[in-house]
Amino acid sequence: MVTYIVRRLVTAALILLGASFLVYLLTASSGDPLADLRASNAPNKQQLMNARTELLDLDTPAPIRYFKWLAGAAQCLVPFAGTCDLGKSVSGQPITEALGIALVQTLTLVTGATILAILIGISLGIVTALRQYSALDYGVTFMAFLFFSLPIFWVAVLLKEYGAIGFNDFLRNPEIPLPTALGVGAVAGLLVAVAVGGELRRRLITGGAVFAAVTLILIYFSATQWFKTPGLGPVVIAVAGAGIAVAVTVLVAGLRNRRALQSSLIVVALGVIAYFAVQPLLDQATALMIALLGLATVLVGVAVGYFMGGYDRGQSMRVAGITAFLVGGLVVMDRFMQAWPSYFSNSRVRGRPIATIGAGTPNIEGDFWVLGTDTFTHLILPTIALILVSLASYTRFTRSSMLEIMNMDYIRTARAKGLSERSVIMGHAFRNALIPIATIVAFDIGALIGGAVITESVFSVRGMGFLFLDGITHIDPNPVMGVFVCVAVTAMVFNLIADLAYSALDPRVRIKA
């Protein structure tokens, strides 16, 4: 095992050296860094050209410059020495500093989107696999391919136009005209009717119910100006909590496990009580406090499960813990919604909450909830854009992986044993389908660090992608190398981790030492 890891690391280092040399040469040879000055008619043109030649050390041939760079970069390997030197950019900024800033920007932008895309993609993939060649499957496949085929800057421009500017205009007077409410309801009902499957009667009933519910909710929202003063309130939390409790029980334990269902319902009840109890506490919330409360919530849930026991105590604990976490999420969401009016009327926000650029309103002041809402309103559009475009690969991949597994002999065996469909899917198929997904996620983390070049540029986020692109446009190898090294190292490390995890998860794979 250790030999294997050491060998992998040595190989990785050699690959990195070779690739970085190539990248440096490619960048240096990709153009003329003095181009803009050459075409200038400024009287001090020569002086400026000399200054840049000196800054970028252009008199030294690129291969030698690479080794100079390498000498500085090698110092980064010395831990805590602070001697890390990745050179300076064409505007004189040290690359280490630029990378620090860019990394934060990129991670803020893409982390949420990637996690959500993975979750949604895997769920959709499983559902479409289980209902292969149904209307739902075709619909999801079509939409996934469609979004995959759309250029992202195009998606982004449309999102800004309608998701930000249009929605903000709507918020000025959040009234939904009756025809719109009916229309939205009808579309939702139709979609559900097509997606739900089954007999015509079942489809009609479900579709009709969804139509009525959506329309009524929209009318209610319009009448109460809900979008100006949103909130869930204890009633909605209780009802939604009960729904969550049932759903979690179905997925994790099966409804036949009454103890599990009971413990999750108890947790929901506790959650509604806690809703009133924690409100004053939440007013002084900090990120740490929320994290601690979240932990406490899960622990309470697990404890409830433990005391309810049942024939499978572990299952009850799991169900109750997950339910507690989700209900806690509802309470937090409700608190964010309570902060909405104060965010909305904040002088910095000027009544136009959804933003088209940047990662936060400059100079905004407020409590945890207002600041959290601010981050949310800035990240929502780029996140949606990234999710739409990257959803396809996860969905399609999970679908094919799941289909493959569902045809395996051991699934047939599991069925033959008389296991319930739930435990066949959740216990046998799903877990095994997840194994290869680990490889993809590992691969994605490298790409994630590299930033989403186009998304960044459309939403004016200056992250890793921007740094990289800027380096290429200015024929400036140092930023390019900085980004490249970050991406390559992360990708390699995570690939190694994925391979190790793979062998741990899948007994058929053995590492050759």
Partner: protein
């Protein structure tokens, strides 16, 4: 000569003002009124900038970007500023400067008492001296060819003006300084602070401390003690001066707000309050500031937005109040369609032109003339510029832009009238059946040039020219200028608006930017005379003559002046268009929220 050159400069500027206001007056109703009417005191405004803020010293070669210059302008003040009519406006509240003598040209600068850096230190002669040292290249003895000597201050400024001065004489009050020029220098009023830069930017007491000197006086003594550098006889570099110059060049570079507030001292209407790297810079009003026009806004937020569509959408969504996107017809139309937005249309000082090589298939004047006759200048302007600025006309002078007083006269006399309309028959006659193959080089990444090329190609083909597409990518086109690999080229120059040193740079035999091999004895003689002439009228006369000579030799044709688009929310008043790189920021103190 009592009024001397000031009156001339003002005269030029006034004429320019007339020309510009004529433009502005006809640009349609969307232009906002310039008066800061209805503005209140206080409030906050957000401005979009294309690039991220990177340096508190916009005067360095590295830090010389638009956004650094704009923020530098708002946080510093000087003896003068330039208004939107390209007038030089004196700021007597900051200090006075007067011409003591004409021969040799001697100017005395005095800073008023009470003009302070934001740490309370008086702005002194030492600050002026440091500014002079960095902007004059006085100590530099570097020889780029021989790789010897040292360039101390890495300035972005053109040092040729201040380099004519001797070491300044410092006044006994500690607030005044006198510059003596060895030769007359036409742009002496601008010499001290190059445009786009706030002027007295860098506090000497901070640089002295950071460079390891005892105090400000030590810095003054150091500068006084050193001799003018000579690139012919380079000396070993002076360690103390190098430390000072290095700190000046790089010490103020930062994308974040430094923990040491002395690195971002202000002596202007605004002070930098916070910086979010690559996102925003927040400026707040300098409470002490009373040495210049009084600002109305309490706060200005500068936000970094690169792409033009993103700027427009941010304006539409109310996230920013003032934008300056890249000019394109679609952007203009989009902005026109928005309610609550004032559109400010103007011209930049840059212009695109077609140059013909005086060699190869175009060596013969007849062929050049025939080719120029086919250039659809009106069509190019109609299709590329008119959508942005409906008043646009082809540029009719190789030397002047319409904002300059001499333009109209020169354009009428220089022979540009010959090339107003496409004359395919005339061209065919001149060609006399020949079908020369012309390779046109241009920047393929600039849509305006690509479109101009397409239109020229279409038209010239009709007269029998065989046009070869010689366009190159953005990284290559400029380095192939003048290498003879093409016969004609489309690219842009930037007219300085003021000053004459640009003319010989482009048109003189062997000039630094003379890429097409133009050489004319008469023009050379006129240009030799031009650069030693300080009389503005005489300068204009000579330039008009040169302009006509250039046109007569079928040198090429100017195509159009680049349009400039800015827009502001109608919640903001006091924002006006401005052609030079200071842009809307020139009157930052007039901005106010309605």
């Amino acid at each position: 000569m009592r009024f001397g050159r000031i009156s001339q400069a003002v005269g030029v500027a006034a004429a320019a003002a007339l020309a510009l206001s004529a433009c502005a007056g006809t640009s349609g109703g969307s232009t906002s009124s310039t008066a800061a009417a209805g503005g209140q005191q206080g409030g906050s405004v957000a401005v979009a900038e294309t690039n991220g803020f990177s340096s508190f010293n916009p005067g360095t070669a590295d830090g010389n970007s638009d956004v650094n210059g704009h923020i530098g302008y708002a946080t510093h003040s000087s003896f003068i500023y330039i208004d939107d009519k390209l007038n030089i406006v004196r700021n007597e509240k900051f200090g006075k400067y007067e011409k003591v003598s004409d021969n040799p040209l001697t100017v005395k600068y005095t800073v008023n008492e009470g003009v302070k850096w934001s740490d309370g230190t008086q702005v002194s002669a030492a600050d002026l001296l440091l500014s002079w040292a960095s902007g004059s290249g006085y100590y530099d003895d570097a020889d780029a060819e021989a790789k010897t000597g040292t360039t101390y201050f890495k300035t972005a400024a053109d040092t040729s003006g201040l380099n004519l001065t001797d070491f300044p004489e410092l006044g006994s009050d500690g607030r005044s300084l006198t510059l003596k020029y060895s030769k007359p220098y036409a742009d002496w009023e601008l010499a001290y602070s190059f445009p786009g830069n706030g002027g007295v930017d860098i506090p000497a007491h901070v640089v002295a401390k950071q460079a390891g000197l005892k105090d400000t006086q030590a810095l003054v003594d150091l500068l006084k003690g050193l001799k003018r550098g000579d690139s012919k006889a380079p000396k070993p570099e002076d360690a103390s001066l190098k430390a000072v110059a290095d700190f000046w060049s790089t010490g103020f570079e930062s994308k974040t707000l430094p923990s040491d507030p002395s690195l971002y001292l202000s002596n202007g209407p605004y002070i930098i309050k916070s910086v979010v790297p690559e996102q925003s810079v927040t400026l707040v009003r300098n409470k002490d500031y009373n040495w210049g026009p009084s600002p109305k806004l309490d706060e200005i937020v500068v936000r970094t937005i690169g792409a033009a569509p993103a700027q427009v959408q941010a304006l539409k969504n109310g996230e920013v109040d003032i934008i300056n996107p890249q000019a394109s017809a679609d952007t203009v139309e989009q902005l026109k369609a928005l309610t609550g937005v004032n559109l400010l249309l103007g011209n930049q000082l840059s212009y695109d032109h077609l140059d013909l090589n005086f060699s190869g298939p175009l060596a013969e004047k007849n062929v050049r003339e025939a080719f120029l006759k086919t250039v659809p200048r009106k069509d190019i302007v109609d299709k590329i510029i008119k959508k942005i600025d409906p008043q646009a006309k082809p540029l009719d002078s190789q030397i002047f832009v319409p904002a300059q007083a001499a333009y109209a006269d020169s354009a009428a006399k220089n022979g540009s009238s010959m090339y107003q309309d496409v004359d395919v028959d005339g061209a065919k006659k001149l060609l006399n059946g020949a079908t020369p193959e012309i390779r046109i080089m241009y920047n393929k990444d600039n849509p305006n040039r690509v479109d101009a090329y397409s239109l020229i190609r279409e038209s010239a083909t009709k007269a029998g020219f065989k046009i070869v597409d010689g366009g190159l990518g953005k990284a290559d086109w400029s380095s192939s200028l003048g290498d003879g690999s093409y016969d004609a080229t489309i690219f842009g120059w930037i007219n300085s608006g003021v000053g004459v040193s640009g003319t010989p740079q482009i048109f003189k035999t062997g000039g630094g930017s003379n890429y097409n091999g133009f050489s004319d004895a008469d023009a050379d003689k006129a240009m030799d005379e031009l650069i030693v002439t300080t009389d503005k009228a005489k300068q204009d006369e000579l330039q008009t003559k040169i302009d006509a000579t250039i046109w007569k030799s079928a040198y090429g044709v100017p195509l159009f002046q680049s349009p400039d688009v800015k827009a502001s929310s109608d919640q903001i008043s006091g924002v006006t268009a401005m052609p030079n790189q200071t842009g809307v920021w020139w009157n930052v103190w007039d901005w106010s929220r309605k």
